[in-house]
Amino acid sequence: MFKRLADAGSAVAITVDGKPVAARAGDTVAAALIAAGIDHCRTTPVTGAPRAPYCLMGVCFECLVTVDGVGSRQGCLVPVREGMKVETQLGRREAGR
């Protein structure tokens, strides 16, 4: 869906559901996900429908993911960090994480 312009920033290694993803400095989690071509980042708590980042500006809450063990983070507002563990969020969040 998206490709990077040649002059994008330096590499930042994160994992998404345990698989390595090459993010770049300046990426938000949501941007890293769409750059990596990941289809969806969560399923809804109502019907389980798949969803992906939609507005990338903090408004729609479609990019909710688990970041370093904390659920329901807005991926488009969280900058990536070396070693960050991102997990797709399936249905309702589990209390305690």
């Binding site: 708590p45 329901s72 969040r93 209390a95």
Partner: protein
């Protein structure tokens, strides 16, 4: 002259629509007169418990009345489901009151003791449990929970869905629902009630006042009274979570949709738009102490609502001595008592008189008896 309606129900909240549905089931032609979208509306802000424990301290018959409704609730929700296809998710797994200090637990035990010692009280089945006993039933409680009280009769429901379901049910039964019809005046003329609203006059043979705190203003128009003492409560609600608790707590419950409601504050304010952050903070702090796994959960909304509260906290059911056909249906616990309102009070109103053997203790005349005493 024949009135347009058999009964005009004033108020489109839970008490009003439960009564209207009950009246429609009795074959009455019913109109519900409601306020607009921004009405002060406890039915949109309540905590959705069908609650028994601690009801009735100071008026023993209230305990029996509450248990009666709690017992009728299952059948009531089945009837609603048959008529509308909507499931209000009534559950009655028993509920808790949790205490965060020995002092709180002692105070709790005291209240229950005073309640039980009243003459004529029904058996409540409420017991005091220590931390370990509570933990068996609520495994995620925090260490600070020293214990609590448990009542197997307590339950909860999805009250917003109940609200929608009752509206759907009255709609299906042909009840006329008129929003933005705040009632300004009521007179009885030519054997019928004439209710003045911004959008014209409504005529009905009987009138049931179910307007919450506004009953205080309306009741004197038909020779009744409803002394009220509104108060503000605040609720904090979280995002949807996977199920983690099987019993509601009086201050914290997980809805069937997964959200966690946290509440039960009490402030002397009638401004529904105000929200005291420190009150929400206290509710949040206690919730995290009760269930530490909630610490990182997102709060998606807080709100305040004005409780419908009579001056002594107990319901008022009355029929007018001076304006026959006028009734008050007025109480705080519009969810818990919905079954009684639909299945007991409404048929009485349809018949034209209240059954004293059931509701005499709830007449507003009690306020004068106390004054005289």
């Amino acid at each position: 002259m024949v009135a347009e309606y058999d009964v005009a129900v004033v108020g489109g909240g839970l008490v009003g629509v439960a009564t209207a549905w009950g009246l429609a089931r009795e074959g009455c032609r019913v109109v519900v007169l409601d306020e607009g979208d921004r009405a002060v509306r406890a039915s949109r802000g309540n905590f959705a418990l069908v609650w028994v424990q601690s009801k009735g301290l100071g008026l023993a018959p209230y305990a029996g009345w509450t248990i009666r409704s709690s017992n009728a609730w299952g059948g009531f929700s089945d009837l609603l489901k048959q008529e509308t296809g909507l499931d209000v998710s009534f559950q009655r797994p028993g509920g808790f009151h949790l205490c965060l200090s020995e002092k709180e637990l002692e105070a709790r035990a005291n209240i229950l003791k005073r309640l039980h010692n009243q003459p004529g009280i029904v058996d409540y089945k409420t017991e005091i449990l220590d931390h370990d006993q509570v933990k068996k039933m609520l495994p995620d409680i925090g260490r600070e929970v020293v214990g609590g009280s448990f009542c197997p009769l307590d339950g909860h429901v999805n009250s917003l869905r109940l609200f929608r379901t009752l509206h759907t049910a009255i709609n299906a039964r042909g009840v006329t629902y008129l929003p933005s019809h705040r009632v300004d005046n009521i007179v009885k003329e030519g054997g019928e009630f004439r209710l003045t609203t911004e959008h014209g006059e409504i005529r009905a043979a009987k009138v049931a006042l179910a307007a919450g705190n506004a009953n205080m203003r309306l009741a004197p128009m038909v020779g009744l009274e409803a002394p009220m003492k509104p108060e503000r409560g605040q609720i904090v609600v979280t995002e949807r979570l996977r199920p983690f608790m099987n019993h509601p707590v009086v201050t914290l419950r997980q809805t069937d949709e997964g959200t966690v409601m946290i509440g039960d504050s009490k402030e002397e304010s009638v401004d529904p738009s105000g929200l005291t952050v420190g009150v929400s903070a206290t509710e949040a702090e206690r919730a995290v102490r009760q269930f530490p796994l909630l610490a990182n959960v997102n709060v998606v909304r807080t709100w305040s609502a004005i409780r419908v509260m009579t001056q002594d906290g107990f319901p008022i059911y009355d029929e007018s001595p001076t304006h026959p056909g006028a009734f008050t249906v007025c109480c705080h616990s519009g969810v818990t008592l919905a079954a009684n309102h639909a299945l007991i009070i409404a048929p009485m109103i349809a018949r034209g008189s209240l059954d004293k053997s059931l509701v005499a203790p709830f007449s507003a005349r009690r306020f004068h008896v106390q004054e005289a005493g």
